[in-house]
Symmetry: C2
Subunit: 669 residues, 2 copies
């Protein structure tokens, strides 16, 4: 009964995916199409903790009740293995507490960190009673000096968890209790007692931890600032309200040198601060408010470091995933200068969070100790005044948000739920630097996308895992032969970062717009420019990041006489296949030189670009050509995909009539 | 690098559609399949204002620059028409203000209400300068006593708008200014000056008006309470916060007898209150926060009245629509007893809305005048104390929400955006009462759904409009022959509310589970039980709301000898069609009596349930039967859809070999 401007509003929402930097993959590779190496052992599951040691050329894998050492160059080569089971008594206790014998009361290895040159630090859920141990690399044996894993590793193998080892100290984001209800961001070190977050919803409110890593200040820091450990998670918002819980993505940080407070915040972080990590399209009022994974593209100077995150929306009932990128310098700006939020009581009984407009104590609450503080005789956090400590205890949340580069997503993909991200910065032959974004989905698919000026191009999608299960971990090796390692519940998969050799022609090699690939006219092959052994002289290679294939030499074409002969009985049908490599190309059929424009009565274009000809008669005989036409750099590029010569069989009853073509060939029908 | 419990959370969200009361339509009718009557005139557009006069048996239609009187029984019969254009001078002014000559500076009829027995009250946008007039029914002419339409009709034809006429007074929800920025809920009456809402975001905050109607108190009201006018709209939330605007569905009401205040709220509503209209799935944290249309299923006692609304989610980038139902008694409970919300200033500079916990003035702010007030010498709103008026001016929002029946949606549909709703309460032959929900989509499709105990069944979908455009208005006639009337930009469509005659067998008639339809074994037809002329003795009819077709007499089956003969040349292919009526049925093929279980090499089941047989040979000859198998009431019901006898042609060269079957029939290939 009423018109609605909401119609317009919702119409806009429908355009989110088209409006944003979105694109489907150009090429789709099946699991068996590409050169993947897999590892799994019968009876072992949950290969979700991966640790790459590029010096030792190995990949460590933490799975359920087992730790593996695999060859980095070929993960199917197992170098070592150690079993770590739960003793019977432990398991019984776990079962008695109501947990499942088959799935929960086992030991899931979730911490795998390099402790020193000779050993790894490993922790497992150990039947809901987390334990840690040292693993000697020489003999690949556990030292069996088991330590309490509380606060270092999660109790529940299904609960979100993140960890990072920095200078021998283990930083974790996990739950501190059996029920999983007490979230904690902690530091465990040999020399000091556990440093942790305050147990308060202002500090952490039902967080789902996603990632943590250190950002080094660098040697030439003027103020001799401290290194920082950044945490990424999604939590329930305290500052916003709605009916139902509102989730919010966060970036939090602590300082490496934090020792806790003297009286206030004893054995607690004095440097814990957090901010909102925005990934939204303000012009469409669309918010991606769940962060699933983060990758930090580190640079020698931290100011140039870029943080990449994959997001979905809390309400996105059908997959719409986004990738947002953040400059570390904007992050630093927010943490070092941002306004704080404050919990205020309204009308005696309501709690609301608002901007704090009062005077901020000095030193700035939550800031790391620097030379300026040291001049004031504050050489570590124990010397911080109570006023500063009390303030940061009550105001861990900053009001200023961390905004993405360009104020919106770099990439939006429809009908996909991204779970993992890895990014590699490569220099193409045009000497420009490109960030190549690898994203893993909950269905075992990998997307490879490149951000060009104002445009995203998804080079390819690869069915990385045999089954449609989630990619749980995604690692990238960047030295030597580049590989991606994906961990899932059922195994580990190793994949090259590019499939240049799969492009048969210069046109395909160029249209792929893959910064790893270029056409070598000398060998007539699409080669990986980072595999130095393949080509010594890069200058002869043909590459165009716009996909402009004009520089390609003309393709060698077989003469129509060499086309495959199809002998078809009169009245029956013939199917001429035309497999296109690119999802962005369209098939164009020429019959005896003329373009097949409309669906003539006897022709039917198949959905997979093949041509079906019904009840073939003498007039259907002739030369059939299928061309792939693809648009790039404002031009159409076409190439011959398949050619056929269709003819009726030689009639044995009338030997006087010979077919015009005398070449004989295999016949198909 | 991190596990995620959010994965689980989002997994749940993916289940919203399966979790809730959701179902696809059993039958799909195309536009040309069913008996629809259409009306449109060349050059006339936007047939979006419909008014049904069941006494006069006519449907009034307000379109762009024209008003029509159509026959209710056959809308293709135009009884009258009047043109109402904008004078040249008006149009020029409108164009000078920057509006479009082709679309905006025209007269869109948006108000069409019965004023009295002899005339209608009509208003149009009149080139962004709304005008109203009286339409004499006798000669169907405008009286040309044009009145200012400001506050009664919208300026902008594209802006949301609702109106209702109650006892000669026009109640509107619209914008009061040219820019459309000043929302207003107003009453225009001949005897009094315009009564309106305060211009304040606490009262109305960017509302999209959806529907308005009166709920009569009834004669036997103990307190002699006033009649109420309810408004439904979506607006931008003031009480909740997020980044980006949060929309919220509202129900608001005013009292019919309101005269405004004496000093405070002079010429403003003293009875305007609003509450949140919740349609959500709390267990999945999923909120449908945009209301698109409302239908009030009125009953003699208002306490039994049920309000139906169609909702989507603000973030639902792919359509997920829900229908929620509300008891009028719960609405009354919220408005008469609910807590108020209050705007509070926090830390000097922030405004937050919280529950008001103080003492509420008496009489209750926003309540209608009743006998209790009259005893206190408050006989109308002019006598209300300033304290009460000031309170309602500052506290128009109630904290308590109006919750749906069953605390969640009645119906959830995927991949659909519902725009309109109409509901009819019918008594089936089992003497139970069923609410039949008709929902119109933005693609011109109508869904007909019935709510059974704990289960929703969508009987059918109908492509009501020829083109995939939005259904803008949906009206239901309930007297005599029941019809639905849908208005769209391009015309008016009249549709029966049931298509019983389209079900050819008792099985189909029963499996449809349509409360309008029953099988008449005497005439072997599926009949509409509300068309009394069809059947006099209802007791002989077969109807089962569970879809149990066991009571059906055995279907008359043609003998295999009567099946259609298909003569197929050896080596060529044959396609045997099997059109299933029901989307919930599966096709089962029997070849010479045996079920075709797997896809044997030469058989290929087509997606539309037909069977394709490749290169037919002598062994493929025989009897082919296609059965429709559908599950209902815990049982499988099967019926023969098509039967064929496949044979090779009689070979003219070997007259000794005759085909086994000697019956000759039309041959198809």
């Amino acid at each position: 009964m009423a018109f609605s401007v909401l119609g317009v509003f919702l119409g806009l929402l429908l355009e989110v995916s088209t409006h944003g930097p979105s694109s489907g993959p150009r090429t789709s590779w099946k699991h068996e199409d590409v050169n993947l190496v897999e590892f799994s052992e019968p009876g072992v599951f949950n290969y979700s903790t991966l640790l790459l040691s590029e010096e030792r050329h190995v990949l460590y894998v933490g799975a359920r009740e087992a730790i593996f050492e695999l060859s980095m160059k070929d993960v199917s080569v197992r170098k070592n293995k150690v079993i770590w089971k739960v003793p019977e008594t432990h398991m019984e206790k776990c079962i008695a507490k109501g947990k499942s014998k088959e799935t929960e009361c086992l030991n899931y290895i979730r911490v795998l960190q390099v402790l020193n040159k000779d050993s790894l630090y490993v922790c497992g859920t150990h039947a809901f009673q987390p334990q840690c141990d040292h693993l000697t690399l020489k003999d690949f044996k556990l030292q069996e000096k088991q330590e309490d894993g509380r606060g270092k590793c999660s109790f529940d193998p299904a609960q979100s968890f993140t960890t990072v080892m920095v200078d021998g100290d283990l930083y974790s984001g996990t739950a501190y209790n059996f029920l999983g209800s007490e979230p904690i961001i902690s530091r465990y070190s040999l020399s000091q007692s556990l440093l942790r977050t305050e147990y308060s919803t202002s500090w952490l409110n039902e967080p789902s931890f996603v990632f943590a890593d250190v950002i080094r200040e660098g040697k030439n820091s003027a103020d001799d600032e401290d290194d920082k450990i950044y945490y990424f998670f999604t939590e329930v918002s305290v500052e916003y309200e709605f009916y139902g819980k509102l989730l919010i993505p966060r970036i939090a940080r602590v300082c490496k040198g934090d020792l806790g407070g003297q009286r206030t915040l004893q054995k607690k972080w004095t440097s814990f601060l957090k901010a909102k990590l925005v990934c939204s399209m303000p012009e469409l009022n669309f918010v991606f408010n769940v962060v699933h994974d983060v990758f930090i593209l580190k640079t020698p100077d931290w100011r140039e470091t870029v943080i990449y995150g994959v997001f979905t929306s809390q309400w996105g009932n059908v997959g719409l995933s986004a990738v947002c990128a953040y400059n570390m310098s904007s992050v630093e700006e927010v943490f070092s200068k941002g306004k704080y939020m404050q919990k205020a009581t309204v009308e005696q009984s309501h709690t609301k969070w608002v901007r704090y407009n009062g005077i901020t104590p000095s030193p700035r609450p939550g800031a790391c100790i620097n030379n300026h503080n040291r001049l004031q005789n504050i050489s570590n956090s124990l010397h911080l005044p109570d006023k500063t400590l009390q303030f940061v205890k009550d105001h861990p949340l900053l009001e200023d948000p961390v905004l993405p580069i360009g104020n919106g997503p770099r990439l939006i993909t429809k009908d996909v739920n991204y779970t993992q991200i890895a990014v590699e910065r490569v220099t193409a032959l045009d000497n420009n630097v490109y960030d190549v974004i690898f994203t893993g989905t909950d269905k075992g698919v990998l997307h490879k996308s490149v951000v060009y000026e104002g445009e995203v191009h998804t080079v390819e999608e690869i069915q990385l895992l045999k089954n449609a299960e989630a990619i749980k971990t995604l690692l990238l090796s960047t030295q030597g032969a580049r590989f991606l390692y994906a961990g899932s519940d059922s195994g580990v998969v190793q994949s090259p970062t590019a499939f240049c050799e799969k492009y048969p022609t210069c046109g395909d090699c160029t249209l792929a717009r893959d910064p790893y690939c270029a056409w070598d006219p000398q060998t007539s092959a699409c080669v990986n420019i980072f595999h130095n052994q393949d080509v010594t002289d890069l200058s002869r290679l043909i590459q165009s990041m716009t996909g402009d294939a004009d520089r390609c030499p003309p393709a060698r074409r077989s003469a129509p006489e060499e086309y495959q002969v199809m002998v078809v009985k009169p009245g029956s049908s013939a199917e001429l296949p035309c497999p296109l490599l690119s999802n962005k190309a369209v098939a164009l059929w020429r019959v005896n030189g003329s373009v097949l424009t409309d669906e003539a009565s006897k022709f039917h274009l198949l959905s997979d670009t093949g041509l079906l000809i019904y009840s073939v008669g003498p007039e259907e005989q002739g030369v059939y050509e299928c061309w792939s036409v693809e648009r790039a750099a404002g031009k159409d590029f076409s190439s011959l995909v398949a050619g056929y010569r269709l003819r009726l069989p030689v009639k044995p009853r009338s030997p006087g009539h010979l077919p015009r073509s005398s070449s004989s060939s295999a016949s198909t029908s």
